[in-house]
């Protein structure tokens, strides 16, 4: 049918299909900023447009319903590269980070200001209630609106955006626009989906309906006859290559138990076949014609079921070791069903797959039993965390193509170099035949540290030479993506009457699901990012990870720390309660301070012995004291309604900054012929501002404005190796590499200037804006002249700085989160009234972005604690495969009073004293809220999420 509409002031006549959505129509006409995050759920708002002056979801609306309508898209906000005031205010306030739906948010807020020039916080919350912001929370959106208002009224901003740090520096610690902010907020081509070439084929996956089954046979004969079908890949024709999807180090401390396709499916949603066809319709038709003969097996879903005698065994194949094979391996491998495949351990991880144990680790300092004997009070409690989805707004997707005989992968990844290695391994080709181009990442949160879609799509392109686009549905994100490991953490803790902790034991039992990616390192973090907070001399831990048939798990922001922090800090509060002492006092008494030697780290390495280091810069004390003051700690609050009881809680937290001894970053910085700078960084900016940090480091060293510095990052052809963005490594590792490269280039510039100016290097200095100045003669040489002369036919060549960063030094961020909640004793409802996060990030290089990440991570973990939950039925089918049923926090779930504070602590090892910022912020909510609930109504919440129903059960209102 033919419809007419006006889009962004242009008449559009379109011949549409009856079922076509308005979004499909708009995207097909080039309005690419109208994106899709929810497959027509009408929830996430990436598809928001204004229709006849009302914001609507374009994906939830049939195009036919827009006949004769006036439509406005985010494209209307920018004019030939010039951004609107609202768009610029969003960049300046720091909310444009992964930014997949930032254009839609800009459109909504623009619409709001056009209809209400002085909106209240509630007005803004209301308008943003239909848009899901995962990365930055919503708090700085209020600021963005205020800034835009001020700019419109006065021509400039009045409200301070964020505190600034290090007065002596020009760029570091200062509020500066994120270098890729313009393209992201305007909705210009940025993401993988924007790189797909016309005519690309499509790939869809046939997934298992069973949680646990052998595949006896797959009949693809009829499916292959469907016109347009190019190939179908199954366990019977894929490479017999075992690998690990986790992009972390090489070799990874995880079992290699992945194959493109297996003869055994291990979760509902596991891969069975990949269908490549010219169109999606053809692929779907072929999918229906594939018949699979399954032999269904009993399935297990919990740690307890996995531990049981005679439990079904999830991974029961032949075990191999790349090193350190045990002597009894031959007998261990007797009587193997070949359909089970293999599990290859790069080195021993204390596994026993015949008992579903994927990995284990144990360690101790002091004598924990002696510590317990010395205690006046002793508790032992078990805390259960649930399976949580990362929910990036941009799902996992990839576009692959051949360029001559090289495989080109446009990826949304945190680990381009690990991705290249794994794709090369799967395709059995050398790494120089693979080119990974990391596009902008529309949300990762750890889930894009795993190679979950690129392996099969790249292989399909490699064998067919077809360009192929693949994109997970939102349901596939839930059932076949990586998620937070459910964990059962038992803490035994003893203390003296005065609150001195004498012994701590943590028993971590983690559920890795069907595959073992991150199966050691995530659970280890439950201990390694919590126990080092305490000065207790007697500590012991056991970590055991079990295979089950739940949807896959993996990395998620915070890694294992949020679960360990929840258990350890709640146990500390429970023990303080038993001792009748203030838990904050107890924390203050037992916390570490600068200089304390962290002996526990020796046994907390990731698959090898860790390095013992002293506590370095540490803002823990300040965070606890300032937070206590902010929340009026010790003062009991009351509400008028007697059914609502108020309580306060806190948690002290820590994380790491990358993995000293394991991570490695490299970078080169090139002086262009006009004196501008090009950075080639191996680092992977996930939207968090790593590229901006690298640019700031170079600008600071070379005293050159940021707009004279450009960056390419995460491209395996044009940048140097970097282990990737995970474990909070970006600022510490990748930026340190950039800083080293900048300093190297500075030296080279001075050397070259010395030759060109014929003055000793010692007499030369670099001054703004990119000029070499002689302190003796006053002579000046611009970078442009210097570079030009270096590159004439008689010059000495282009100046390139190189930086390689490895370290054994740790830059540990610390902090404290405080919560005040109200709990209704009749209904079990919980309201977070106040939430304060205070964190020491060393020098916050991008303070406005840092604050937004703290807000985002805190709201996320409030969501994990109170609302979010992947629920499986008795057959392992996910009952919550969309945003609505899963339950993410939106503006309505914001705390009434939400504040993030940057504690100023200079670090000796981070670039310009910087430490990591974002991950740590996921560690505080669960224990702070659990402890606040106890303070309010006297019940301990020992499992996620803390639902009203659980409160009522604990209160004895329901059974």
């Amino acid at each position: 049918m033919i419809i007419h509409l006006t889009v962004d002031n242009k008449e559009l006549q379109a011949d549409i299909l009856s079922g076509e959505t308005l979004r499909d129509l708009l995207v097909s006409h080039g309005y690419i900023s109208v994106r899709d995050s929810d497959d027509k759920e009408g929830f996430a708002g990436s598809d928001t447009v204004i229709l006849n002056d009302r914001p609507v979801y374009a994906n939830l609306m049939l195009a036919a319903m827009a006949d004769n309508a006036v439509v406005r898209t985010p494209h209307s906000l920018s004019d030939k590269g010039s951004l609107s005031i609202m768009q610029q205010a969003m960049i300046d306030s720091g909310v444009v980070q992964s930014a997949y739906n930032a254009p839609a948010a800009a459109l909504l807020l623009t619409w709001l200001l056009e209809h209400n020039s002085d909106p209240t916080r509630e007005d803004i919350k209301e308008v943003l209630s239909g848009i899901f912001i995962r990365d930055t929370g919503y708090e700085h959106y209020f600021l963005a609106v205020k800034l835009a208002q001020e700019k419109m009224e006065t021509g400039h901003y009045i409200t301070p955006i964020a505190p600034e740090f290090r007065e002596h520096l020009d760029y570091i610690g200062k509020v500066k626009p994120k270098v890729d902010g313009r393209q992201l907020v305007a909705g210009w081509k940025s993401f993988v989906e924007d790189r797909v070439e016309p005519g690309a084929s499509t790939l869809i996956l046939l997934r298992s309906p069973h949680a646990h089954a052998y595949i006896n046979s797959i009949d693809i004969e009829q499916a292959l006859k469907v016109p347009g079908v190019i190939t179908i890949i199954t366990a019977f024709n894929c490479p017999d290559v075992y690998y690990m999807s986790a992009g972390q180090g090489n070799p990874e401390p995880s079992p290699y138990d992945r194959r493109l396709f297996n003869r055994k499916v291990r979760h509902v949603g596991d891969r069975v076949a990949a269908i490549v066809a010219k169109t999606e319709e053809q692929a779907l038709k072929a999918k229906e014609l594939i018949t699979v003969d399954y032999e269904i097996l009993p399935a297990i879903f919990t740690v307890e079921e996995a531990m049981a005698e005679d439990a079904p065994i999830v991974q029961n194949g032949k075990v191999e070791f790349l090193s350190g094979a045990p002597d009894d391996l031959e007998s261990y491998n007797s009587d193997i069903d070949e359909r089970e495949g293999k599990v290859i351990y790069p080195f021993p991880l204390h596994a026993d797959i015949r008992h579903n144990v994927a990995a284990a680790a144990h360690g101790a300092i002091g004598d924990v039993e002696k510590g317990f004997e010395q205690a006046d009070a002793l508790i032992e409690r078990t805390y259960q965390s649930s399976q949580i989805q990362c929910t990036p707004l941009e799902p996992h997707l990839v576009f692959t193509k051949m360029d001559n005989d090289r495989l080109v992968v446009h990826a949304s990844t945190q680990v381009p170099f690990h991705l290249r290695r794994i794709v090369a391994k799967v395709c059995q080709i050398p790494e120089n035949k693979v080119h990974i181009i990391k596009e902008k990442v529309g949300g990762g949160y750890g889930s894009k540290q795993d190679i979950l879609v690129e392996d099969v799509v790249a292989y399909a392109t490699y064998i067919t030479r077809e360009p192929i686009y693949y994109r997970n549905t939102r349901e596939e994100e839930f059932i076949a993506n990586s998620t937070r490991h459910p964990m059962r953490v038992t803490v035994k803790m003893g203390a003296k009457k005065d609150g001195t902790i004498t012994g701590v034991y943590m028993d971590v039992r983690a559920n890795t699901g069907p595959y073992g990616n991150h199966c050691l390192t995530v659970p280890m973090n439950a201990c390694s990012k919590t126990l080092p907070l305490l000065t207790c001399p007697n500590m012991k831990f056991d970590v055991t990870t079990y295979y089950t048939n739940i949807p896959p798990t993996g990395a998620y922001q915070g890694y294992g720390a949020p679960k360990g922090s929840y258990a350890l800090m709640t146990a500390l509060n429970e023990l303080a309660d038993q001792l009748c002492i203030d838990p904050l006092e107890m924390a203050m008494k037992n916390k570490v301070d600068r200089g304390f030697m962290l002996e526990i780290l020796k046994s907390l390495g990731e698959g090898r012995e860790g390095t013992v280091v002293p506590v370095g810069s540490c803002g823990l004390d300040k965070a606890l004291k300032e937070g206590a003051k902010m929340i009026n700690w010790g003062v009991k609050e009351r509400m008028d309604d007697p059914e609502w009881h108020v309580g306060k809680g806190f948690a002290m937290i820590q994380q790491g900054s990358g993995l000293p001894g394991l991570d490695h970053s490299t970078c080169d910085v090139v002086l262009n012929t006009d004196g501008t700078i090009m950075i080639h960084s191996g680092g992977s900016d996930l939207g968090t501002g790593l590229d901006t940090i690298s640019v700031k480091c170079v600008s600071e060293v070379l005293k050159i404005p940021m707009d004279k510095v450009a960056i390419i990052s995460g491209d395996t052809d044009t940048t140097l190796f970097d282990t990737g963005a995970y474990a909070s490594s970006g600022t510490y590792f990748s930026a340190n590499a950039s800083l080293k490269a900048a300093n190297d280039l500075k030296e080279k510039i001075l050397n070259e200037a010395s030759l060109q100016m014929e003055e000793p290097k010692e007499d030369l200095s670099i001054e703004a804006p990119g000029v070499v100045v002689s302190v003796k003669t006053g002579k000046e040489l611009t970078f442009a002249t210097l570079s030009h002369d270096a590159l004439t036919g008689v010059g000495r060549g282009q100046l390139v700085g190189y930086g390689s960063f490895v370290t054994n030094d740790a830059a540990i961020p610390y902090g404290a989160h405080f919560a005040q909640v109200a709990v209704n004793i009749r209904t079990g409802e919980i309201k977070v009234q106040k939430y304060y996060g205070l964190q020491d990030a060393g020098t916050p290089i991008n303070p406005e972005l840092a604050l937004c990440q703290m807000y985002g991570a805190s709201l996320k973990s409030i969501g994990h604690s109170l609302y979010e939950d992947m629920i499986l039925d008795e057959n392992g089918v996910c009952l919550t495969p969309d945003f609505t049923t899963y339950g993410v926090p939106m503006t309505s779930e914001l705390p009434d009073d939400f504040k993030m504070v940057l504690i100023d602590e200079d670090d000796e090892f981070g670039p310009y004293g910087a430490k990591s910022i974002s991950e740590i912020a996921t560690n505080g909510a669960a224990p702070a809220i659990a402890n606040a609930i106890h303070d309010a109504v006297g019940v301990w919440m020992r499992s996620w999420p803390f639902t009203p129903e659980k409160i009522l059960k604990e209160l004895g209102k329901i059974s």
Binding site: M1, S18, G19, T21, D38, D39, K40, E41, G42, F43, G45, T48, R54, P55, V56, Y57, L60, M61, L62, A64, M65, D67, L108, E126, V127, L128, S129, G130, I131, R474, R826, T827, E829, G863, L866, Y867, I871, L879, T880, D882, F883, T884, T885, G887, V888, P889, M890, S892, E893, P945, T947, P948, E949, L952, K957, I958, S959
Partner: protein, 281 residues
């Protein structure tokens, strides 16, 4: 798979098309239910109500008529819509969705976690329906929403034209229980009563219970009317008799049972308090 989309010309023409379509022709109002991911509505021909001018809110004497195509946002923006209905409209937590969802669509969607149905039923709302009789004539009649709900299948081929609210002194209080504002509700409950001479009468208590559907708590209505309960709290234990609750992702059956009983008692208590204090209805 939607094979055909047309815009309805008149109620009669639309209803004729629906009759011809034999269940595969469906009406589309805002589209938030029909188009959404996981919709249970299957159709190969959609007829839009856009052109029928069903988007007016009118005062007609003591009555308020709300056209079926009036969106949730339009209800919130109207001075005519009573506060109790606006409260229920806000149960739909997404501003953007409220711009699309319509009152007629919400009723027709027949969901067990309906935002509006318990409130409208407790308010004793009526629906104006368009129908084609056996002799082919087009008729309009307004019936109690309760009756529409009770005989839902009978009205499958009817067209909701408007929702009608009476404007006597009536207190209507509603409460929705969901993990987060935009999660599916386990229970949405509404308590309605008329106010005459400072006392409550003519009670209506309805709940949308996930997995169970819309239920009327008639025995509690009668019990309150007959002064069977001494205190409002006494309502709770018997409120949920004869309701089959189910365990699902929104909560266990025991949770739903408790929260429904407790809330009915609480809403009753609040209603008494409002009347006793001469509060604004």
């Amino acid at each position: 798979m939607i094979g055909k989309f047309t815009k309805g010309e008149s109620p009669k023409q639309i209803l004729q098309e629906v009759q011809k379509g034999k269940g595969l022709t469906r009406l589309i109002a805002g589209g938030t239910e029909i188009n959404r991911l996981g919709s249970s509505v299957a159709a190969d021909h959609l007829i839009s109500l856009q052109n029928l001018s069903l988007n007016e809110i009118r005062k007609e004497g003591s009555l308020i008529s709300i056209g079926a195509m009036v969106t949730f946002t339009e209800m919130l923006e109207s001075d005519t819509i009573p506060a109790y209905l606006k409260e229920a409209v806000r149960f739909c937590g997404s501003f953007t969705r409220r711009n699309m969802a319509t009152i007629g669509g919400n009723i027709a969607a027949d969901r067990d976690d309906s935002y509006l149905m318990p409130t409208l039923l407790s308010a004793k709302a009526r629906v104006l329906l368009g129908d084609i009789s056996i002799d082919g004539k087009y008729n309009e009649e307004d019936i109690p929403l309760r009756e529409y709900l009770e005989f839902r299948d009978h009205f499958n081929d009817s067209l909701i034209l408007a929702v009608i609210l009476n404007r006597p002194q009536r207190v209507v209080l509603s409460k929705r229980f969901a993990r987060s504002v935009q999660s599916n509700a386990a229970v949405t409950v509404s308590f309605g009563a008329s106010v005459e001479d400072g006392t409550l009468s003519d009670f209506r208590i309805f709940a949308a219970v996930k997995g169970t559907g819309i239920v009327r708590l008639s025995h509690i209505e009668e019990g309150i009317a007959n002064r069977q309960f001494v205190e409002p709290e006494d309502v709770a234990p018997s409120a949920t008799q004869n309701i089959a609750f189910v365990d699902d992702i929104t909560g266990s059956s025991s949770y739903k049972r408790y929260i429904l009983g407790s809330s009915v008692a609480d809403l009753y208590k609040q209603s008494l308090s409002i009347v006793e204090n001469g509060g604004d209805l």
